[in-house]
Symmetry: C3
Subunit: 262 residues, 3 copies
């Protein structure tokens, strides 16, 4: 039996964890704002000269390969290893991992660093699991349904909780599988909302069971999309969405979350 997701939200806000993010240039600002709106504390620290040193100060870590480069790739691996060694959770966001050879190689190196959670869209999870995929760029050309088996396999291969986000979100640890039916069709029309969710997952992970924490984080995020409601377009939707992350109470999350365990 799962905790109510509102309990995870309340504890995350009490802890206000320091979340280190090695993320892409597109996501940096909105991801920091989303982590702040949720109630945690973001730090974007990615230089090889300091990234792993900073990991010792942070409580949780995210790594996103959206705009990779050689120096950052080394910082990613060093920070991930440090988190693993110190027993701190870290979340891997394999942006467009199937698109180029450079990303496939980097993705494989990071998988070897034992992420606590892997969060991607269907194409990315299929690519990571070694299946054929039609991924183009950061889009989710594959459906979440097609990625369910791949997600379970990837969880079993790696020991990570795997989250596939899309119209319906799926979370699995290889044994359990949960689906979250919340969300809003405008969310994919805004850049870096998936990347930013990775930071919310990381914040929820501190001192929580990874599977339950990931389910709670995804439900919180998707419900905020519903609460943002009907906007005239993606820019006003983004404003309402971030405000909803800020304003949502644990009770509202418990009431609104549509989670089903399989």
């Amino acid at each position: 039996m799962m905790n109510q997701p509102g309990q995870n939200l309340a504890k995350m806000r009490d802890t206000a964890p320091l979340v280190q993010n090695i993320t892409n240039y597109v996501a940096m600002n909105v991801m920091a704002n989303i982590i702040l709106a949720a109630g945690a504390s973001p730090a974007m620290v990615h230089a090889r000269e300091e990234a792993a040193e900073f990991t010792a100060l942070a409580q949780t870590l995210t790594i996103n390969i959206g705009t990779p480069s050689p120096a950052w790739a080394e910082a990613m691996v060093e920070a991930a290893r440090t988190a693993h060694r110190l027993g701190k959770p870290w979340v891997f966001d394999p942006v467009a991992v199937g698109a180029t050879g450079y990303r496939r190689d980097l993705g494989a190196r990071l998988l070897a660093c034992k992420p606590t959670v892997i969060r991607g869209n269907a194409s990315e999870i299929l690519a990571l699991a070694g299946m054929q995929t039609a991924g183009k760029g950061a889009d989710a050309a594959d459906s979440v349904d097609a990625a369910k088996d791949a997600a379970r396999d990837l969880a079993r291969q790696t020991g990570a909780v795997v989250a596939v986000t899309g119209p319906v979100d799926v979370v699995t640890d290889g044994a359990r599988m949960a689906e979250i039916a919340n969300g809003h069709p405008m969310m994919p029309r805004i850049t870096a909302l998936g990347c930013s969710l990775t930071g919310i997952v990381a914040a929820f992970l501190v001192d929580h069971d990874p599977f339950e924490a990931t389910v709670a984080a995804l439900a919180y995020y998707a419900l905020a999309g519903e609460m943002a409601g009907e906007a005239k377009g993606p820019a006003s939707f983004q404003t309402a969405f971030i405000d909803a992350l800020y304003g949502m109470s644990p009770e509202a999350l418990n009431d609104g979350a549509r989670i089903s365990l399989r």
Copy 2:
């Protein structure tokens, strides 16, 4: 006789092209959001290790020198050459090209890679065309009028369509010249709107005549500024502007565009 610009918009949305952008750090997030709002699919891929490989996946490319560095400069040249070799359109955005020797050199290298379209403000087009200019930073200290002859010369020298954006936009292929009278005085008070327009031009270029596609893209963008209407300030204007890009119908574009051919 030109097509109606709404037809270009409708076809662009049907195609939803994958637009690769090597752009500056300031523009990345808003440019991706603007491309998504318009109905295309952005990918910010600039690392030398993968940029040209990705160009083969994308349908169209933009290169913006707003925050150049040595590694990115090589990626820019390699991606531009790849686009040219594969017959894919690419748009050059020569941000502040006259400001430093480094930008002038990089600008010259990229001109040699045969851009399909060059889009800049008056100071940038004058600088590229080799004329004297008072450009400071990314501002448009020179008037669009002063840049008309330079734009025509640059188009003839390079074979590119040249677009000069400002209070009135001018587009020329060296023979034809169009003016677009739409727009809003708040637009220059928001950073990276010009950079983001470059991505919209690239999206419109796919399978269209470059001159007509550029005119249609500029009319669409400037009319969205009018539709955003009176805001209390630049931040609420930006929100309304992006929502207008999302919501504008092809019919509204045909009705509202004020294009004159010279």
Copy 3:
């Protein structure tokens, strides 16, 4: 006796200075938009190949170590030295300077380049002044009160005006000390507002006494937070805040500023 801060605002808008910023990736877009909203002209120019050359074109400079790297560190030092040599003001923003050895070393190098103003939160000013501090990431774990003595010492050691921002802002040149009581509790929930303020300080510095200009810039910024008023959350607050920076008249600033000299 101080000038009215509205006079500084009016003169800054008349001058519309070109502000060069070597800032972090998180802040770039919002900082440029905030500088534009205030009425100045931003340029984000940080590549070593051109940064110091550009400093000769700009009227004022900011350096922020939020996302440092080896190439940028050299550009920072070269640009700061150029500004000092040419008699142009420059503002140092020592983001999380106490968090890692890399930042401490870079912070010391930049202090040696004689900043006109240093602007940070309490933890950062305490770290720079060599005191014990509990800073984590970019947060202000220490109170502004605790940092007052450190600020005065730092001003005397360096010859810079030192500004400590927080619930109450403090500005000192080592002899004078001013407190600004304006502000809004939502401001720390939005990323990069402190970084962006550094750009506003730099714009106000052009042709003004550094102490008075810094006080005026901080009052303008904090009063805009009050004018933004009650929002549903941090995203709508940010929009209202930037609009308020754009719309505030010099008279409104003189009426609303709560500055006390000690």
